[in-house]
Amino acid sequence: MVGQAKRNRRRGVSLVGTLVAVVILLIALIGTSSFRYYAALDGRRADAQTTAARIALMLCESWGGLNGDETYNPVTHLSSDLGITAGSSTVAAKPSDFNLLGAYTVLFDDDRGVNKYMATLSWKDLQPGLRALNVNVAWAQREQVVSDSGVDRSFSLTMYTLTW
């Protein structure tokens, strides 16, 4: 009888052993999810910067196509295809020696929220017939729908055009 009871007694897994295994598994899972979280976050940041650069290039090219006209209004030219409106303040800084053309707000509505970009257009005559056009686009990296005070990133682009 005693020998048979010993044979039926099997070594099991203790609760502590199970918890240790679960903790190890959780650490691995958290590590993986952390990697993916930061990858997705960096991807969104890169996407926002790319979009800002595209906006700056588009505004520069559109303005340059009109020879840097001092009366150029991107709202008039682009609002039918782009969510661009006149901005209330120059959130994105312009170069100190440039003349301000205007401040504008561009809204992009993707599937995860609205991204807001603030653009400031300015110009400067370098010599007769040659004008520098500056577009500075600013955005908030940490928020999707942002207040103007949340802006913490900017992209500036300057192009040159003949005015005649």
């Binding site: 918890l19 899972l29 993916r36 595209r54 090219e61 196509g65 009109l66 020879n67 295809d81 599937d111």
Partner: protein, 155 residues
């Protein structure tokens, strides 16, 4: 009793971590699609091609279709050309944005290349010496609108 408490705690922790993991996976999938989907890459290609052709084009003449559904610009074949002797024409056909290249006088098509697919709409507009391309790409699950503007640079 201790076992039950431990099990409940583990279930709560497991569910919380599961939510975080699912949300992270969802964000990962969304971002991956935004960066690597055919709609995103088609947008990059179309913009780059449009910029390249427009920068090479002559500012003397640009022709748009009646409803802005096609665009034709003209350029020099090479440095030895004394007159504008080539044309480039963007148009949409069967959901593809095509670029037709050819020579002028006599007008002969030299080649047609497909710039990108998944095109659900494309409109060209002219403002001074710049041309805007409003290209809408849609593969059924994701849509992307590319607004590009480029200046014709050559005489």
């Amino acid at each position: 009793m201790e076992l039950m408490i431990t099990a409940v705690i583990m279930v709560i922790v497991g569910l919380a971590i599961g939510v975080v993991i699912v949300d992270g996976q969802s964000s990962w999938n969304t971002m991956y699609d935004r960066i690597n989907s055919d709609v995103a890459s088609d947008g990059y290609v179309a913009r780059k091609k449009f910029d390249a052709v427009m920068r090479r084009a002559s500012r003397e003449r640009t022709v748009l279709g009646g409803e802005g559904d096609w665009l034709e610009v003209y350029y020099y074949a090479d440095d030895d050309s004394v007159t504008v002797d080539r044309y480039a024409r963007f148009y949409v056909s069967d959901g593809d944005l095509n670029l037709e290249l050819g020579q002028l006088e006599p007008r002969v098509t030299l080649g047609v290349e497909t710039v990108c697919g998944n095109v659900s709409g494309c409109t060209f507009k002219q403002a001074g010496q710049s041309v805007q391309m409003i290209l809408t790409l849609d593969n059924g699950t994701q849509a992307n609108t590319v607004v590009s503007s480029a200046v014709t640079h050559n005489q």
